[in-house]
């Protein structure tokens, strides 16, 4: 196979793949700025920021964010602590039990979240009853249950992150500290914890994100404290509005921003390390010339561009008023609706004409007067009765549509009232 063909097909595949991955997020973000009441990209109506305002006035969303933050904090503390203990245990557990222990602490990742939620609910409900506590006790509190339920599996994630770093830890460091007279707690706090700090930080971020976006477990345990995810799910299930797109846009923007920031920081560290390594002896002795913050750091440049774009957008949002455009669109929509009504009416008229023509053919001269025809014109001749119908329907449409008072053109000529109408 041709090499360049292979390369092109790889790039096409990558493009399609990332389109599938990122396209939905981009489209969702764009719908947050369309004034259409249903989140959609086309037809594009007006650029608007009203959905953001609506979002921040929604008490349920704000309350959900508050609950999510409380629960996230509790989950981070509990699951990082349990994950660290679990990881320490894994490195020193007696070998016979190791495989069993590992299976038990890794299992919550694979157990469906629904099952975890149910088992937490059922178990603590039973404990609650065994202790003889009422339905409003601490053990049946939504926040407590949610933290417990989420920590069950989030601690496993934390354990995996922490154990990866713990495996590189030299146990001799702790032993040296102990030999020098430190207590076990001191050795843990001053030697092990600083070594583990980067891993603990990433485990905490992971735990918070996992807690913040969890739905399956929380939906059984939240009780009276719905989290943001629960509120969103209820909103999305019972009718979707662009206010949700606005929230999604904020989350996407924050995520991208922090990802870029992190990337810029890492790149910066790498560049500084490289500069130190390549520096000559006198440079090291004197002042080392570090590369400037933006040199060779595309991510840092992007962070700044991103920040400027955000400020611009917020600035525009405060100054911009889409009222005129929205009014225009509404007017246009009204016109379209009227046109459609007109079309429907004409179609109906056409059908009626056909039917009447058929009836006229069948019935011939013995046509009975139709009660529907109250135009005040004689019904003797079928063609005339058609004309009468026309005028009647035109009167109807001009009632619905006040702008053109008389658009019938021909039908009203036969109408006895036409003269008055013209005045």
């Amino acid at each position: 196979m041709n090499n360049s063909f292979l390369r092109i097909s790889i790039w096409v595949y990558l493009a399609i793949f990332f389109l599938y991955l990122l396209g939905p997020l981009v489209i969702m973000s764009i719908t947050a700025f369309n004034s259409s009441g249903f989140p959609r990209m086309s037809p594009w109506e007006c650029l608007t920021f009203q959905w953001f305002g609506e979002l921040f006035q929604d008490q349920r969303i704000l309350n959900g964010i508050k609950n999510s933050l409380i629960i996230g904090l509790g989950t981070v503390v509990l699951s990082v602590a349990m994950g660290l203990a679990g990881a320490l245990m894994l490195t020193q557990i007696w070998p016979k039990l190791r495989a069993t222990y590992y299976t038990i602490i890794i299992a919550p990742i694979l157990i469906p979240g629904v099952v975890l939620g149910i088992s937490t609910l059922v178990f603590w409900d039973r404990i609650n009853r065994m202790l003889g506590l009422g339905a409003d006790s601490f053990l049946s509190n939504g926040i407590f249950l949610t933290v417990i339920g989420q920590s069950t599996f989030i601690a496993s994630y934390c354990m995996l992150v922490l154990v990866a770093r713990l495996q590189r830890y030299d146990i001799a460091l702790t032993e040296a500290a102990l030999d020098l007279g430190a207590s076990h707690a001191q050795a843990f706090r001053k030697i092990l914890l600083p070594f583990m700090r980067p891993a603990i930080a990433s485990a905490a971020v992971l735990a918070f994100l996992a807690s913040f976006e969890n739905y399956n477990t929380t939906t059984f345990t939240f009780g009276e404290y719905p989290t943001l995810t629960i509120e969103l799910a209820q909103k999305v299930r019972y009718g979707i509005t662009p206010a949700i797109s606005a929230l999604a846009f904020i989350i996407v923007a924050l995520t991208v921003f922090f990802a870029l920031l992190n990337e810029a920081k890492l790149k910066r560290q790498k560049l500084v390390a490289a500069a130190r390594k390549n520096a000559t002896v006198e440079e090291l002795a004197g002042k080392i010339k570090l590369p400037s913050f933006f040199a060779g750091n595309a991510a840092a440049v992007l962070v700044v561009v991103f920040a400027i774009a955000t400020i611009t957008v917020v600035g525009t949002a405060t100054a911009y008023d889409p009222g005129q455009c929205i009014a225009d669109v509404r007017e246009q929509k009204q016109l379209e609706a009227e046109q459609r009504i007109q079309q429907l009416r004409e179609q109906r008229e056409e059908r009626r004409k056909q039917r009447e023509a058929e009836e006229a053919e069948q019935g011939g001269a013995q046509s009975t007067p139709k009660p529907s025809n109250n135009s005040g014109f004689g019904n003797v001749f079928a063609p005339n009765s058609l004309g009468g119908d026309e005028s009647e329907s035109d009167d109807g449409s001009s009632e619905a549509d006040p702008a053109p008072s008389n658009n019938s053109g021909f039908g009203n000529v036969f109408d006895p009232n036409s003269l008055q109408n013209d005045d």
Binding site: I27, M28, A99, I104, I105, P112, T152, L160
Partner: protein, 306 residues
């Protein structure tokens, strides 16, 4: 005190040792094992109002499991066809989603694992960003796209490929796309981790010996990546069989996911034992299925989660 406990406390000190042991025991026994056992026990009990719990009527029964198979007593049908059909449909659909994800993710994982350069880092970030967005919002995004007046319908109708809106949601296409979308990362990363460690010389050698590209994959890369592939598949299968948000948001009105039945038993019917029984059935079936498939492809349990 047994020797190993003595060693453990000698090594960590009494205070630290107690703290570690306490946390680990709370996690493994208090949060993992006991709740599962409690749910198992609960699933064998009848649904009673709170005052009667522990009373003479509170005896073990198989009723909840019978209900899944035979339906309500005195019902018109011999079997509970509605729930059973939902159950098997869920399993089959989860398998399909897993295979779909495996097929689309393998080339990406191979590409990311075997090529070098700074653009790999950008791709990695682009992969992770969607995963940080809320599960509900991801499903919502797909609903905007697949809706009746959504982007896809507008696009295809504009191009004149079809002229009435195609109902993606009723045909479950939105649901499968959403489930696949939700778990792509869990499929890519285990595979990527394994493929990254594959020595490029092996591929070079196979190429020099005249193997065509598909045979290189079949005989060199895939056997090497088997642990990664199996952990990715296990995770995607378990999570999509247990998914709740995507079916609730993207599922058609007539199609249910088994987790939705469990949810209904808990929240609408208020029949907790019944819901617990359904959850047990789902959990046990999924575990047995995964173990059977792993036996079939000769993968060890220890390879999972590496």
């Amino acid at each position: 005190m047994p020797q190993f406990l003595k060693d453990f406390f000698n090594r960590n000190g009494t205070g630290m040792g107690l703290a570690i042991l306490g946390l680990v025991l709370f996690w493994t026994i208090g949060l993992i094992i006991l709740p599962q056992l409690s749910m198992l026990d609960f699933s064998f009990r009848p649904n009673l109002p709170p005052p009667e719990i522990g009373g003479p009527k509170d005896v073990y029964t198989l009723e909840n499991y019978k209900y899944l198979i035979y339906g309500p007593e005195g019902g018109s049908q011999d079997y509970n066809t509605v729930d059973l059909r939902v159950f098997f449909r869920t399993l089959v659909a989860a398998v399909c989603v897993t295979i779909f994800n495996l097929i689309i993710c393998y080339p990406i994982a191979y590409y990311l694992g075997q090529s070098e350069g700074s653009h790999i880092r950008i791709f990695a970030i682009m992969l992770i960003i969607p995963y940080w967005i809320n599960e509900i919002l991801r499903a919502f995004a797909l609903r905007i796209i697949f809706g009746e007046t959504g982007v896809l319908n507008t696009l295809f109708m504009g191009m004149g490929i079809w002229d009435t809106p195609f109902d993606f949601i009723r045909n479950d296409i939105a649901l499968y796309a959403g489930l696949g979308y939700a778990y792509i990362l869990l499929m890519i990363f285990p595979m990527y981790n394994v493929i990254e460690s594959l020595d490029k010389n092996q591929i070079e050698a196979a190429r020099d010996l005249g193997a065509p590209w598909w045979r290189i994959h079949w005989r060199v890369v895939i056997p090497y990546a088997k642990p990664g592939i199996s952990s990715g598949c296990t995770m995607v299968f378990m999570l999509s069989a247990g998914a709740l948000a995507a079916p609730q948001i993207l599922g058609g009105p007539s199609s249910l996911w088994f987790t939705q039945l469990i949810y209904q038993q808990f929240n609408d019917n208020n029949d907790w034992p019944q819901g617990a029984a359904y959850a047990i059935v789902l959990l046990v079936t999924c575990i047995l299925f995964v173990l059977a498939v792993m036996r079939l492809f000769k993968v060890n349990m220890g390879d999972i989660g590496k």
